[in-house]
């Protein structure tokens, strides 16, 4: 899967080179279209897989659990950081 990063690096180089070309500014819209298409493909894979369809509730519950861990973990660490280094700067 290193090709993925190669493609991104290649894109960054091309992007820097194309800075004088104004139309390149609209690349973001193309990115959005690609994302829509890929999520449609993901939906397609899910819809064709009966095992996933019949488990959507359970998958949602697992998603909620993982998100809870993700958010709790980060806000607890950042609370410590805030009290150590940031709070004193406030007037």
């Amino acid at each position: 899967m290193f090709i993925v990063f190669l493609m991104m690096l290649l894109g960054i180089g091309v992007g820097i080179g194309l800075r004088p070309v104004p139309i390149v500014k609209e690349t973001g819209r193309l990115v959005t279209l690609f994302i829509f298409f890929l999520l449609f493909l993901l939906g397609l894979a899910v819809g064709q897989d009966e095992r996933i369809i019949s488990n959507l509730g359970s998958l949602g519950l697992q998603a909620v659990l993982i998100t809870t861990g993700a958010i709790l973990g980060s806000v607890v660490l950042v609370k410590i950081l805030y009290h150590l280094y940031f709070k004193q700067d406030e007037r």
């Binding site: 091309v14 999520l39 894979a45 897989d49």
Partner: protein
Amino acid sequence: MKGSLIIVGFFVLGVIVGFGGFIPKDLLHADLSTYVLYGLMFLVGITIGYDRELLLSLRKTNLKILLVPLCTIVGTLLGTGIVGIFLPKWTVAESMAVGSGFGYYSLSSIFITQYKGAELGTIALMSNIIREIFTLLATPLLVIYFGRLAPISSAGATSMDTCLPIITKFSGKEYVLIAIVHGILVDLSVPFLVTFLCSL
């Protein structure tokens, strides 16, 4: 928020088309999504390279600011790792890979589908959308209980776009630059962390 609805719309459309059997299974080759992903990453690269401001704002950062994305990444991995211990179906690394989307649901779910299949990809999509929506709704409470950095950290990669207005309002203007730098760095870490954790 409108963006999330459209994304979910395309996903749901795919589910309906797939479930209804409107497209024969063999018609869309599995390699198709791989090539579209390559194209997507190339385009994402162009948007990064083209954006002069993006690279410049990274130069204004100091060490203290860099600690915020670091805490977000480490805290998310710790939290999702602990949850992963209790999920019978998935390994700790797989749970951490879902967390490594940091709210960047489109890209992370695409990557995880590619590496681990549509089932974990669906969890990643739902989990990271929940992260964004939760931050949008809970920011005032997060500031009260976890301090002004908390909404930025909770927003993850979305602290520089969808969640930025609400962060500005409740954390204050002096936290806008932190939120933007945080969003950029966490955003850039997504493909690398997800790929690494899925290869374990």
